[in-house]
């Protein structure tokens, strides 16, 4: 039992995590590539035309995974933030800051693909639909997190302040979502709601699943890459980084 606890904390230290992450990154890239090829292959080559939306519905294979990821990454970020506040592990703060830019990217991609889907379907680029609006607010939350961390020079303080903000945000996300939904139904905005998935054939579901998996693998690989950079930067005066540099020379 104690042995396992020690093991956990062993991997929580940057010194051991750094080489481990380095070994894992290519695996996740490979998986991301395979899943993307399978998912996009099913989605763009095999899946049948949708009866109502024609071929334009194929954006769903990009839009839905991007939206999912943007929400998941925020949750994961808040999870790391909570761990960091509770156990004071250096790694958790670094993971949270490594995830934020990718989460923001997915939120942006979700809005972008949503707009490009909305134009042919509803005739406008933007509707104040509950989902789109919440996604926009999520993007704001990511930007707030990134801006706060960028404004604080001391990395330990940046980590902890960011962690508090992420936790406050994650409590607020459902409140924001339901209030926006309420607001939307009251104002009778869009009659067609985005994400009201067209009655989906099994192939579409599989395609979407694989695309989502590809996005997962992509996010993990990117987060590991970024966390390695953050580790090097922050721990540049420590023994293990110096040993690494001596090796590189």
């Amino acid at each position: 039992m104690t042995n396992r606890v020690i093991n956990w904390f062993r991997y929580a230290s940057p010194q051991t995590f750094y080489p481990l992450a380095g070994k894992l990154i290519p695996c996740f890239w490979t998986l991301a590539g395979i899943f993307a090829v399978v998912g996009l292959g099913i989605g763009f080559l095999l899946a049948p035309t949708d009866a109502q939306q024609g071929e334009g519905y194929r954006i769903i294979f990009l839009h839905v995974p991007a939206s999912w990821m943007s929400m998941f990454i925020y949750l994961v970020m808040a999870f790391w933030a909570a761990i960091g506040l509770a156990f004071h592990t250096r790694l958790s703060g670094m993971m949270a800051s490594a995830l934020a830019p990718t989460g923001a990217l997915f939120a942006f991609l979700s809005l972008w693909t949503g707009a490009l889907w909305g134009k042919p379907m509803w005739g406008t680029w933007w509707v104040w639909d509950a989902r789109l609006t919440s996604e926009l607010i999520l993007l704001f939350l990511y930007i707030g997190f990134i801006a706060l961390q960028a404004a604080i020079d001391d990395p330990r303080r940046a980590d902890r302040a960011g962690a508090i903000l992420a936790l406050v945000g994650v409590v607020n996300v459902p409140i924001i979502y339901f209030s926006v939904k309420w607001w939307n139904t009251l104002h009778q905005g869009a009659s067609v709601s985005l994400g009201k998935a067209p009655s989906m054939a099994a192939q579409m579901l599989w395609g979407m699943l694989f695309c989502a998996l590809a996005c997962w693998m992509y996010s993990i690989a990117i987060a590991l890459m970024r966390v390695r950079n953050i580790m090097l930067e922050r721990e540049r005066h420590t023994e293990w980084v110096r040993a690494l540099l001596a090796q590189a020379e």
Binding site: F140, G144, A147, L148, A161, N172, I176, S179, W183, L186
Partner: protein
């Protein structure tokens, strides 16, 4: 415990009284922003009535943002905040006291000004009453959520703008239900549902916000 809260409130109010210019500036900001809208969109009463709830509420959010950076900054500068953090009473309670003082100084004036400004927008009697009531219920939530942002950005460069970026997205539910309450009254739906949700948010905000705020203050003081 109550005594220490009261002491914090009394002290903050006395300090605020010495700097009345700040309070007045935030109030004038509120008045000016609201008065700009008819000039921007035209004076048709029909249109103004439709815009009124949103405009007044958004202006109230912005006016609150103005007073937030000073919530902890002065106490941080003169070392009072450190004393509070070291005091035997929980820091969260002190923060609660500061929140109440902040609301009395920054939130309550907005509530009192709102009906006068509502008249400019040709709101009916019911509309004015609900507008005032919604601000009365909602502004404590603004102080509560805002305090978290103020504590997080304490002593951080570019604090003021950063504070807006952090806090304004979190204000969205309050804005929706606050303006929605007035809207619902004007369209004859009745504001009860909105107001009770707004009340729940204000209670939640005031009771829960002091703890993350206290945590953020401790981080800033390290």
């Amino acid at each position: 415990m109550l005594i220490s809260i009261r002491a914090v409130i009394g002290r903050d109010l006395r300090l605020a009284m010495r700097r009345q210019a700040d309070i007045l500036a935030a109030m004038f900001f509120f008045i000016i922003v609201v008065s700009l809208f008819p000039l921007g969109v035209g004076p048709e009463p029909e249109q103004l009535r439709k815009l009124a709830p949103g405009v007044l509420w958004v202006a109230a959010l912005l006016a609150t943002m103005l007073s937030l950076p000073r919530l902890f900054a002065d106490d941080h500068r003169d070392g009072t905040l450190e004393q509070m953090a070291l005091a035997p009473q929980p820091l969260g309670l002190m923060v609660l006291g500061k929140l109440i003082a902040h609301w009395l100084v920054a939130g309550l004036p907005l509530v009192l000004l709102a009906p006068v400004l509502g008249i400019q927008f040709d709101l009916s009697g019911d509309g004015l009453a609900v507008l005032t009531l919604s601000l009365l219920i909602g502004t404590p939530a603004l102080s509560g959520i805002g305090a978290i942002g103020a504590a997080l950005t304490l002593g951080v460069r570019g604090g003021g703008v950063l504070l807006s970026v952090l806090v304004l997205p979190l204000y969205i539910p309050v804005l929706i239900f606050g303006a929605g309450a007035v809207d619902a009254t004007l369209t004859g739906l009745g504001p009860q549902a909105h107001l009770s949700l707004l009340g729940a948010m204000a209670l939640g905000g005031v009771f829960f916000a002091p703890w993350p705020t206290a945590a953020a203050l401790r981080v800033a003081l390290e």
